[in-house]
Amino acid sequence: MKISIERGALLRAVSQAQSVVERRNTIPILANVLIEAEGDTVTFRATDLDIEVLDKAPAQVERAGGTTVSAVTLHEIVRKLPDGALVTLAEDSAAGRLNVTAGRSSFNLATLPKEDFPVMASSEYACNFSAKSDVLRRLFDKSKFAISTEETRYYLNGVYMHVADADGGKALRCVATDGHRLARIDAELPSGAEDMPGVIVPRKTVGEMRKLLDDDDMEIAVSVSETKVRFATPDITLTSKVIDGTFPDYTRVIPQGNTRKLEVDASEFAKAVDRVATVSSERSRAVKLNLDEDRLVLSVNAPDSGAAEEELAVAYGDDALEIGFNAKYLLEIASQVDRENAVFMFNSSGDPTLMREGNDTSAVYVVMPMRV
């Protein structure tokens, strides 16, 4: 194999590959990226056995063929090359090396045979549809903070993407929860997605897929089966196994009957929470909310380290209420609000609280109070 490729295109392709590769590997070839050249394109493929990314780039192919080299090393080299350089990758199969040259720099990298590279078995996808990148971006960006890291409940270690009945009919819905907070985000159901099986997209896949969504208005081809999910742009294809488990019935935990309504400027609220939480010495920083007639008092009382209090003008017309939350959870849900006021719906100090943006029910958050 011998190809020449522009540094920018190479960097984009290799950086996607190297981020999929696991840093600590017991199988040497999994640290490598598979490079294959054919016609006028070169493909880069990397995998951690759960996720596979395939990236195509245009290149001048002098000699077709393929090999594998360390993804991290190749990425580091390309990153350090000057912008606009023309990079030549030439395989020396007799020596088992790949020569990387650009201008006066030349590198010589150890290779492993491409035949040993594990390629994810292709599978049939029951459902194929196309979605705008900004739609997917919103679905996953607003839900991913609630993904659990608890290994014992592995089925919570991802975002549950499925078709659901929403207020305005069927919706494409993403849900994530760790048992303490929950995010439920809806988007209009793309045509072709009606029969999509519900799948739990793993945390790492969510992070990798996010890199495909940076351009607005890009059409992303989504394919879903019971065991795999695939996101593809014209250049990049990301295939991932989904978490083999059952996502819990989250509809039961979304409170329906909460009537005490608080409306507050989300960013003022977040800043105040952040300020008062400073004095807390505990790791789960508890903040107390005291609500009364258009007045919210946030307070933290940490016997060992001090106390803090801040008052906010809010819209609240119900009975006085005292309720505690983990400051981090409040900050995270408040930061999801970007256009209108945050609307909290409370029941009692022991019941889950619901938060949404204005009257928009396409993104709702549930947060469990904590005893303070």
Binding site: E150, T152, T177, S284
Partner: protein, 417 residues
């Protein structure tokens, strides 16, 4: 050189026999009247208590441990001569010493004896740091005026009282810090009294192997050996920066210890790091029901101790030992610390299921680590487990019933498995 008779407590100047009682149990050292950090370690504590309470055992090899399958918890000095050691599997101990008398531990008797010793120590100083039932650090700095005698005399009096009034012997290590005091107490066991002074500290340590350092086990030793460090002498050749670079935070500590420096204070209540409980089965088992019963009982014991101490843990640990003695530990962090047996059980149970290892096992244990005060625990209910609150309520009620009517007043069905 100042000298002290350990039998009649006469203070005198130099000599290997006491000028008053003519007995040879004398300790002498240039710094004898100046040193004040001590480590007291009872000699074969559990076995000594058993021998005291049952004189028939006096001249027999005695092993304290749980049944045929457990491990040796303590061996008396007669059994130790035959090669029996603490933590040795019982079958191995019996191979070495077939005529040994195996005594099941009577924890209450040991706790009582330990309390009596503790009371005697309290008369010496308020700075006591117990490491277990049978050993403790004592800081007697500044007590000489109060007692009208230097620390060495008070310590000799302590072990003499232990022997006369409780029938138990202990060994004293006296030095200028905890690290050296602990080493010293081990030099002249049983019924010893050893002193390591400031002047000879470096010379004393130089030829000694680094495994003397508390906390350097087999793995640590291997790690040090790879760096060419076997003795304190080797350690002294290292720069402070190089040690820190190679061994991280331990490196700096090693640098100090190599010079016999240890600035840790004797603290009355060294913070507890974890609460654990484990059991070795009578027979290896892979029966999920039996294992489940053991798991629940272990979790309940850990939770009981956590509640008694007002603590809770953020990290849950499951420990299993396979029939071939390979050890498996699995740990997970909770978003919200707990002291409830129910949450501990459910978490360890999930860890166990994830193992997907059929066994058979010979040991099972559970632990809570990363401890926090109970006020910071069990505060954030789980959205996905609405029944948890009810179960927690039931557990608190159960605790109240047991506090009033005894441990067996109410049990979970699975505790009977």
């Amino acid at each position: 050189m100042p000298a002290l008779c350990r039998d009649c407590l006469t203070e005198f100047d130099q000599g290997t026999r006491c000028p008053a009682c003519r007995r040879p149990r004398v300790v002498q050292h240039d710094e004898l009247w100046d040193l004040s950090i001590a480590h007291m370690d009872c000699d074969a504590f559990y076995a000594s208590v058993e021998k005291r309470d049952n004189p028939e055992l006096a001249d027999k090899p005695v092993i304290i441990g749980g049944g045929r399958r457990g491990v040796v918890s303590t061996a008396c000095y007669i059994a130790r001569i035959r090669g029996v050691r603490s933590a040795m599997p019982m079958f191995q101990a019996l191979k070495l010493c077939p005529d040994a008398v195996i005594v099941k531990p009577r924890m209450q008797a040991y706790v009582d004896a330990s309390r009596a010793i503790r009371a005697m120590m309290e008369e010496l100083t308020p700075s006591i740091e117990p490491l277990s039932l049978d050993e403790a650090f004592l800081d007697l700095t500044g007590t000489a005026r109060l007692h009208g005698a230097p620390p060495a005399v008070m310590l000799a009096r302590l072990v003499k009282r232990m022997k006369d009034e409780l029938g138990l012997t202990g060994s004293i290590g006296l030095s200028h810090n905890k690290f050296l005091a602990k080493i010293a107490s081990d030099l002249d066991k049983p019924h010893g009294f050893s002193v390591i002074g400031v002047a000879e500290t470096e010379a004393f340590l130089r030829p000694k192997p680094v495994r003397l350092i508390w906390g350097v086990g087999a793995a640590g030793q291997a790690q040090l050996e790879r760096a060419g460090i076997r003795t304190f002498d080797d350690l002294l050749r290292w720069d402070r920066q190089d040690l820190a670079a190679r061994f991280g935070s331990m490196g700096d500590r090693l640098w100090h210890l190599a010079r016999g420096q240890d600035h840790r204070r004797v603290t009355r209540n060294a913070p507890m790091k974890s609460i654990s409980n484990e059991t070795t089965f009578h027979d290896d088992t892979s029966d999920p029901d039996i294992l489940d019963g053991h798991l629940w009982r272990m979790c309940e014991k850990v939770a009981d101790r956590a509640k008694a101490k007002g603590l809770a843990g953020r990290v849950v640990v499951l420990k299993l030992k396979r029939a071939d003695f390979t050890l498996i530990t699995r740990r997970t962090s909770l978003p919200d610390a707990t002291q409830m047996a129910d949450r501990l059980y459910r978490t360890t149970r999930a860890l166990f299921e994830q193992l997907a290892d059929p066994g058979p096992y010979r040991l099972l244990g559970a632990a809570l680590a990363d401890l926090v005060p109970e006020e910071q625990a069990d505060r954030a209910p789980d959205l996905l487990d609405p029944q948890a609150e009810a179960r927690a309520g039931a557990e608190r009620a159960t605790d109240a019933i047991r506090a009033r009517f005894g441990e067996d007043a109410i049990l979970k069905g699975r505790a009977l498995r």
